[in-house]
Amino acid sequence: MNTHLINRRQAIGGLGKVLGGMAAIIHFHPCPAIAENALAPGPKKSVSSNTPPSPAAAQSLPNYDPTAHDWTMAIDVEKCIGCGLCVEACKQENKVIRQPFYFRTWIERYVIRKPEAGSSEMRGETVVDSPNGGMDGFPPSAVPPSEILKAFFVPKLCNHCKDSPCIQSCPVGATFDTPDGVVLVDPKYCIGCGFCIQACPYGCRFLNPVTRTAEKCTLCYHRITRGLNPACVEVCPTSARFFGDLKDPVKAEPLRRFVSEHKVQVLKPHLGTHPKLLYAGLDKEVR
């Protein structure tokens, strides 16, 4: 098995080199229609990041030591405006198939109705949608504004679980976790059985119809191993996504501060998958 681990690492290294090169030439194009269509537009910021990449680190892949890092992401639901830039950036950066059936990250819109008149309920029905994964922003909700109690957006991506059912279920070990805390798929090893897709409680995986292998968020492994942020974090105009390295006191600081200042949750905690992806501001309706 050790031999295969080395092979996988080498494979990821090779993949990272190729994708890293591509990343350098990709620009993110904000779609003008996105902000107009957003249900709850907020103050716009220029594209920013929580942890500015250092130019020196961007060259450091050959010396990258995965045991010296522990990558984690946290999401502030209150900050997400549903602009869809993260989805677009992910699709571009990772060459994700653009049809609306394949997403490494997507945004869900939750619209909670007011209770029926005369009802003793606190709140009414919850309507959830994610047209094209939220990539094009969101059209006005089908629920008339006067009937909306509250509405919010929830970005979704791989939870990079510590006890991930996808890794447990892969029959050949093509899905594995790296020493720096990322769950990855080796497409050269995956047999395309789809068991990991069934095992993921969060719907974060899909079978790529071209490569016929499982695909999912890699936290932009090709970028983070060069000291860059994942594409979705990089483009988020409201800094709703916090990303950091828990083994690096400087890079972990914004993330640690966020976690200390907010009450954080994980998705579907009852399943015991122990996601690393943390959320602040989740409503009980979010699954």
Binding site: M1, H4, I97, Q99, P100, F101, Y102, F103, W106, E108, V127, V128, D129, S130, G133, K156, P165, I167, Q168, S169, C170, P171, V172, G173, Y189, C190, I191, G192, C193, G194, F195, I197, Q198, A199, C200, P201, Y202, G203, C204, R205, F206, L207, P209, V210, T211, R212, T213, L271, G272, R287
Partner: protein, 406 residues
């Protein structure tokens, strides 16, 4: 990229009900995967029926002992093919055996399968047939003679002592074989039951449900095969044997229905977060395949038919009994196929958001189509025909209770 797939998914997108996670729109496991637990279940059921003769000395079932074993072998040989057809990279399938990831139920199934084929079924058949191989290799001619000679593996000793050893070995292997058959299909149940992400699958009862449904389908298949073979060969049907199969089929079906009912009672009583979507699934998307085919036509009607025929078996004319048994076996086999459909397809129709449903459009021609699934279901019958040609020559009518096949 396959444009048909995109067209099909675009159509499915228009028919989504409620909210599904975007990646949940396509069903990863298709109708071809429905065939896999179906075939595996038939193997386990057929073997367990054979073991009734060998271990539990149910003499009435002796006429179908060898047919049961050959059926188990024919279906077992075809059982992994649906998986191969389904894999995105079938050329890498050997990795499951060479570098298995031992925490994966699917990887360990490879070993359970290999154990069952090599250590149980082939060994048992060899010890059971060794005497005949020696005899046939002397009397047969041409290709058959060569086949039988090869199958003796060079052992031509048919002394009383050697035959006694064969008998003891056969019995010992069957004793190991019964838990192995339970393991084989219980394990298929575990592949689904271990998926905690999916509340329709992830129940501890799943392996048990699979074991009982396997027994039911395997016994029903043997009932059908015995009637069909007797008809084709124009040999008389041993009614004592048929009635005994009917009895075991009835009891197995009662147990199976009880366990599945228990599963539903448990789900409804616990009424966890997922119960709403599962009730909608069973009563809506799966109305025909679950309530009508599996529950009504595949369980309640055959229970009624068998429950009426068995107490009246001495009064009813054999021809009538045979027709009741034939109808029951076909209904039960269809019901269990529907059960596999409801598990495999049903479990993917609702999203893990537990808020909505996708749709599944059956392809009729293609890689993972009804045509492929149909071929894979017919293939074991072809293999069985070949096996019976070599290893199950027509029996001479000997039983006194035998009557001509209707």
């Amino acid at each position: 990229m396959n444009p048909d797939l995109i067209t099909s998914l675009t159509e499915a997108l228009a028919h989504v009900q409620g909210y599904i996670y975007p990646n949940d729109i396509s069903l990863v496991w298709s109708v071809v995967i429905v065939v896999y637990p179906y075939l595996t279940g038939l193997v386990a059921g057929a073997f367990i029926l054979a073991s009734l003769v060998r271990v539990f000395h149910v003499r009435a079932l002796e006429p179908i002992y060898r047919l049961s074993l050959l059926t188990a072998l024919a279906f077992l040989l075809v059982a992994p093919l649906p998986l191969l057809f389904h894999l995105g990279h079938p050329e890498r399938s050997y990795e499951v055996m060479i570098t298995p990831h031992t925490t994966s139920p699917m990887a360990v199934f490879g070993f359970v399968y290999a154990w069952y084929l090599m250590a149980v079924l082939l060994l048992e058949l060899w010890f059971d047939y060794r005497r005949d191989f020696v005899a046939w290799s002397r009397t047969a001619t041409g290709l058959k003679r060569l086949v039988y000679r090869l199958l003796t593996l060079g052992v031509f000793d048919v002394s009383e002592k050697a035959l006694h050893l064969d008998e003891r070995m056969g019995k010992a292997i069957t004793v190991i074989g019964i838990p192995s058959a339970f393991l084989l299909h219980g394990y298929v149940g575990f592949i689904f039951g271990s998926v905690k992400a999916n509340p329709w699958w992830g129940t501890v009862l799943m392996p048990i449900i699979f074991i009982f449904s396997a027994m039911v389908s395997g016994i029903a298949l043997l009932m059908f095969l015995y009637l069909a073979v007797s008809r084709l060969r124009k040999t008389p049907v041993d009614m004592a044997c048929l009635n005994t199969i009917g009895m075991f089929l009835f009891y197995a079906l009662v147990l199976d229905a009880a366990i599945e009912s228990l599963d539903w009672i448990h789900r409804l009583y616990e009424a966890e977060e997922s119960v709403d979507v599962l009730v909608l699934l069973a009563a809506g998307k799966l109305f025909y395949s679950f309530l009508l085919v599996q529950v009504l036509m595949g369980t309640l009607v055959p229970l009624g038919l068998l429950g009426t025929a068995l107490p009246l078996q001495r009064r009813l004319p054999p021809q009538v009994l045979q027709r009741i048994y034939l109808a029951s076996s076909l209904l039960i086999m269809t019901g269990i196929l529907a059960m596999r459909w409801n598990v495999v397809i049903g479990g993917q129709l609702f999203s893990k958001s537990l808020r909505g449903f996708t749709t599944y459009k059956l392809e009729f021609i293609g890689h993972e189509s009804v045509f492929t699934a149909g071929l894979l279901m017919l293939l074991p019958f072809g293999v069985l025909w070949l096996l019976t040609h070599f290893f199950w020559p027509p029996q001479k009518a000997s039983a006194t209770s035998a009557v001509p096949s209707s």
